[in-house]
């Protein structure tokens, strides 16, 4: 890749990060963060990490932005009873405590840099990395080495990640459960609703292809699940959260989420039952198939599906539980010009 282009994108990355920190308006700051996420995903795809680039593109520019915007509107609405004008504090760009934080950040970055340099940038170091590169195809049957590492060699860590998401969703759902405002806006205008009806099936198709092809091409359960949750967010925003709740009941989402978790743990237990160890793949008797075909990789596609169910249902129920309070009556006049 052209080094001038890479350098330019890195400069833009630093510029958006600094501007996201220094902007006085939270909304502009969130949008700068979203731009930062898009640039970061471009950097990841330049560095030939398409899995991470996909995650970054969906999560940082889609999910995080929408969740931040919802949180922002929630906090604004709590204050809207007493004072609706935006308070702009007198703000000095560099106070002493911020200088201390800046110093700590620069120091940490320096030591990270010093830690990376002796490892080398292009050469692989360590036996584990070389083993994965050389034997992942043979041992797991998956073409995507990242999926092989994520769901076979390091399956237990992935179970931990799932547990983290499960805890987050549970916590936020409990936090927003007792809200009294169960109102929903009627969504956006007729034009947007009709057009999104063309787009949303494509989004769902894309999400399921990412999940099902996770062992062959970049992507997998986490990425596909997040794209699926994006479709649910589109439902909430474009058609109103009551439409979303009517089509996909929150109870169904909870069931899907728990089922995904149980499915993952159950697949791990199969390995334990056959005596090969928790979350074992080939050794537990899963047929590995031929590498590169759709049915290959043993338990990896099944684990991908479990994670996709879990992440998609979890994130969409998280967004729904946050957005259902937001949609208060002041949102606007419902309906649209015929």
């Amino acid at each position: 890749m052209n080094p001038a282009l890479t350098g330019f994108i890195f400069l833009l990355l630093i510029a958006t990060a600094v501007s996201a920190c220094l902007m006085k308006d939270i909304l502009s700051s969130v949008i700068a963060l979203s731009v930062f996420g898009v640039l970061l995903s471009i950097v990841f795809s330049i560095l030939q990490a398409p899995d991470v680039a996909l995650t970054q593109a969906v999560i940082n520019s889609g999910m995080i932005t929408s969740i931040f915007l919802v949180a922002y509107s929630q906090t604004m609405k709590v204050r809207s009873g007493e004072d609706n004008t935006r308070v702009i504090k007198t703000y000095y760009p560099f106070r002493t405590d911020e200088m201390v934080i800046l110093f700590i950040c620069i120091g940490l970055g320096f030591f990270l840099w010093k830690g990376i340099v002796p490892m080398g940038f292009s050469s692989l170091s360590g036996d584990a990395a070389n083993h994965y590169i050389n034997f992942a195809g043979v041992e797991t049957g998956a073409s995507n080495i990242v999926a092989a590492v994520l769901f076979d060699y390091r399956g237990f860590d992935t179970l931990g990640e799932i547990a983290v998401i499960f805890t987050t969703v549970t916590g936020i759902s409990i936090l927003f459960e007792g809200s009294r405002y169960h109102r929903s806006s009627s969504g956006l205008s007729f034009i947007v609703r009709r057009s999104m009806a063309f787009v949303i099936p494509l989004i769902i198709l894309y999400a399921s292809s990412i999940v099902l092809m996770g062992h062959l091409s970049p992507g997998g359960g986490f990425q596909g699940g997040t794209v699926l949750a994006t479709a649910s967010i589109c439902f909430c925003v474009v058609y109103g959260s009551s439409f979303e709740a009517a089509r996909i009941h929150p109870w169904i989402k909870e069931t899907l989420e728990s089922t995904g978790c149980l499915f993952f743990a159950g697949l791990g237990l199969i390995g334990l039952c056959t005596g090969a160890g928790f979350l074992a793949n080939g050794a537990a008797g899963f047929p590995l198939g031929t590498q590169g075909t759709f049915i290959s990789g043993g338990s990896i596609p099944l684990l991908n599906m479990a994670v996709g169910m879990k992440v998609g249902a979890g994130l969409s129920s998280l967004f729904y539980s946050m957005v259902k309070i937001l949609e208060a009556p002041f949102e606007g006049i419902p309906g649209e010009v015929e």
Binding site: S189, I191, V192, S195, F198, V199, L202, I333, V337
Partner: protein, 116 residues
């Protein structure tokens, strides 16, 4: 499918697209209010992106890749205008009016709905 004529057409399409995108960026910076900026941001940007994508579709070797790029173009053609439409509508409902507007059908309809 990499003859010189095809490449020439492809590069001229891409150049046209870059011109439109540049015009869109300049318009977003230079135009006075929200609605004119949205105008620059949607029409010129959609046209620019479509031309660039058509150029890229001509460049790539297989028809599968070309179909993929055309699918992206269709996606862009649907999403960008409706996003702009939603922003403009939200702006109007938020109370930002286009200053020198003489005709305001949407406002009239909204008022009629309020009276009902």
């Amino acid at each position: 499918m990499n003859g010189p004529v095809v490449r020439l057409i492809s590069f001229s399409l891409m150049t046209l697209g870059v011109f439109f995108s540049l015009a869109s960026a300049i318009g977003i910076v230079r135009f006075p209010d929200v609605y004119t900026r949205l105008h620059a941001g949607t029409k010129a940007l959609t046209g620019g992106a479509l031309f660039i994508l058509f150029g890229a579709a001509l460049q790539c070797g297989s028809w599968q890749a070309a179909a993929k790029i055309l699918l992206i173009a269709g996606f862009f053609l649907v999403t960008n205008p409706i996003a702009t439409h939603a922003i403009a509508r939200a702006c109007y409902r938020h109370g930002i009016l286009p200053e020198p507007a003489h005709l305001d059908h949407y406002g009239k309809t909204l008022k009629r709905r309020d009276l009902k």
